[in-house]
């Protein structure tokens, strides 16, 4: 089993979700995060004083998959989330030791 963590631009969430659903992957965890890579922040102004916002809002998608779908899923995420502009995000893949479905106590690949 592998875990895919993808940091993407927030407005791309629906597209990525649909792309994964097309592959038969239905479950995922989504969180709102802030971050930056090489994309610089921007300046905003409040009551006459400027300030820089370094951290940009992003969405993190985490999905744990069986080995055979990982590559296809990663490719689908990259394709759906790509805009070609700076700040598109990154995909990380890491191994997962064990997974347990809480309701049925299933383990391993049956649980993802």
């Amino acid at each position: 089993m592998k875990k895919i963590e993808a940091i993407i631009k927030p407005f791309k969430l629906e597209e990525v979700k649909d792309a994964l659903a097309d592959l038969g992957i239905e479950g995922m965890t989504v969180s709102e995060v802030k971050g930056f890579g090489r994309q610089k922040g921007h300046t905003e102004i409040y009551r006459g004083s400027e300030y820089t916002v370094d951290f940009l809002p992003k969405i993190k998608i985490e999905v744990v998959l069986a080995e055979d779908v990982v590559e296809k899923a990663a490719a689908a995420i990259v394709k759906a989330a790509k805009t070609g502009k700076i700040g598109d995000g990154k995909v990380f893949i890491s191994p997962v030791e064990e997974a347990i479905r809480i309701r049925t106590d299933e383990t391993g690949e049956k649980a993802v």
Partner: protein
């Protein structure tokens, strides 16, 4: 009634801890109790808490029932029972007695209650008919005026909701409970302090013109109601006069609470605000509205640009100077914005204030004089609108972006600016007064930030600076239409003395509090948020709202 936060007091009695985020109810509900003493202890605590809760419920229910049952016991003394039958007679008598006088809105009369107490000399309905018969149309005008000023008092009360919303919107989420608490305290303290001391200190009748010691309001003060209009008689009952003025008093203190937000110790603020509202506000108030030396000099402040707003704004300035800025606001010579957490709340607050200001200015006519009241409504509204527009465009030009919070401040600036002369400034003069206030407030906000006076909500600029502007505008013939009754010099002297006095006294009060008790919260508490530090209770406990 979930878990820790509501039971702040009794929960800590049970566990000896501060309430924790995990509601014990959740752990208690697990069907699988399982082994382990820890879980059994939680269950005991839950049961104990449930018992305490039900005991409270068992106690409260009969108390509430007893109170509701007690009410009808005084039905036979109910002074409101009589008037229904009297309404028709009143109308007839009035039109007969003064046939050419139009009796406006007789239906309004049905709502007004006769103001004698149950221990009065005559039966309620007899007195009422007698009054109407004796005073005729004057009585109707009196009743309508009284009703209008009471409504205006309610509108001014609404402004406290406006202040609470505005202040919490423009400050950080972690301090919201603290801000709201201060606003709740102020309205409660203000009314009681005014009852016990302030009202009679501000309107002492004959006095030396500078200072009068206050006394509690008593029933004896308002036994006779004078129905005459103008001169010494007010076109309302003494009670209406009291409640209307009481709402103004509390407004002066709430201006301070916005400026000192996010870093002042709660007890220190409560003490300072109480002293200001209870004892100092009546002094400056008596100088003009109480017939004191400013009034005798010909100074004019229609609804309190100086007496309320200037007073509050400069008291706030002194407090902020003594208190110091928020941590992290001025770093390395640069100004770091500390963002407000809720623009919707701030906007709601300003609209509520605008709404309440119709009562603030409209009620200050102190009667239902149609021409005066309607004119004041118009000048108030156009000044507010002009202030808003002026702020929008000034901010856009100088700060390059249309800033919502500045525009909101602009509306308030226009309102404060017109408050001194809503009845005496010309129509288009009002537009210009409001517009100039809208411009002034932007530069004042920016300037105060440059000189390191940290005012999270702009209270000093809106109320203090524009309060002075509004007051002196009355003295300029361009605005008052050449009215010889007003003098620029008198207006200037008046506003500077009121604002200066408020500033100096506030400096002393907060300086003393700082020396004796300490004025500021610790750095850790300021970082963590006053909600947790002062109250042990977060305004947004379970989800993150920006900062």
């Amino acid at each position: 009634m979930a878990g820790g936060t509501w039971h702040g007091g009794c929960y800590s009695e049970i566990t000896g801890n501060l309430p924790n985020r995990v509601a014990p109810r959740e752990t208690g509900r697990r069907a699988d109790a399982g082994p382990g003493n820890r879980k059994n202890n939680n269950k005991t605590h839950i049961t104990m808490m449930r018992i305490k809760q039900s005991l409270w419920g068992l106690l409260l229910a009969p108390v509430v029932m007893a109170m509701t049952a007690a009410a009808p016991l005084h039905a036979q003394d109910d002074p409101f029972a009589a008037p229904a039958a009297v309404v028709q007679e009143t109308a007839v008598v009035a039109t007969d007695a003064a046939g050419d006088v139009a009796v406006v809105a007789t239906e309004a009369v049905a709502v007004a209650a006769p103001e004698e107490e149950s221990e009065g000399p005559a039966e309620p309905d007899e007195d009422y008919t007698a009054m109407a018969a004796k005073y005729g149309a004057t009585f109707d005008f009196f009743t309508i005026s009284n009703l209008w000023v009471l409504l205006a008092a309610a509108l001014v009360f609404m402004m406290h909701l406006g202040f609470a919303s505005l202040e919490s919107g423009l400050t950080q989420a972690k301090n919201t409970t603290n801000i709201l608490f201060k606003n709740v305290f102020i309205i409660c303290m203000g009314i009681i302090a005014y009852l016990l001391y302030g009202f009679n200190a501000m309107y002492p009748g004959d006095f030396n013109g500078w200072f009068a010691v206050g006394t509690p309001v008593t029933m004896a003060d308002y036994g006779d109601t004078d129905f005459s209009y103008g001169g010494t008689g007010l076109c309302m009952t003494g009670w209406t006069d009291f409640i209307f003025q009481a709402m103004f008093a509390a407004t002066a203190a709430t201006i301070v609470s916005g400026a000192v937000a996010e870093r002042i110790k709660l007890p220190a603020f409560m003490l300072g605000a109480t002293l200001l509202v209870a004892f100092i506000y009546p002094i400056t108030g008596s100088w003009k509205w109480g017939g004191g030396w400013l009034d005798q000099m010909g100074f004019y402040d229609f609804a309190g640009s100086s007496l309320v707003h200037g007073f509050g704004g400069f008291a706030a300035l002194a407090a902020v100077i003594v208190l110091g800025p928020r941590a992290g606001k001025y770093v390395d010579g640069k100004i770091k914005p500390i963002l407000g957490h809720s623009m919707p709340l701030a906007t709601i607050g300003v609209f509520l204030l605008f709404f309440g200001w119709f009562g603030f200015n409209g009620g200050s006519v102190l009667s239902a004089n149609p021409e005066a009241v309607s004119y004041v409504f118009v000048t108030t509204a156009v000044a507010a609108a002009a202030g808003g527009l002026a702020s929008i465009f000034t901010a856009w030009m100088f700060i390059k972006k249309p800033d919502l919070s500045m525009s909101l401040n602009g509306i308030l600036a226009g309102l404060v600016g017109i408050t001194a002369g809503a009845d005496s400034i010309t129509l288009y003069g009002s537009v210009i007064v409001g517009a100039i206030a809208g411009v002034i407030v932007i530069f004042s906000i920016l300037f105060l930030d440059r000189i390191k006076i940290d005012d999270p909500v702009g209270a000093i600029s809106v109320h203090g600076v524009c309060g002075i502007w509004g007051t002196i505008a009355v003295g300029l013939s361009f605005f008052n239409g050449g009215n010889e009754d007003f003098s620029f010099v008198t207006q200037l002297i008046g506003t500077l003395s009121i604002c200066g006095f408020a500033f100096i006294v506030s400096l002393i009060i907060f300086g003393l509090i700082k020396a004796i008790f300490g004025l500021r919260v610790s750095a850790e508490e300021e970082e963590e948020g006053l909600d947790i530090g002062e109250h042990g209770q977060e305004a947004y406990p379970d989800f993150v709202a920006n900062k």
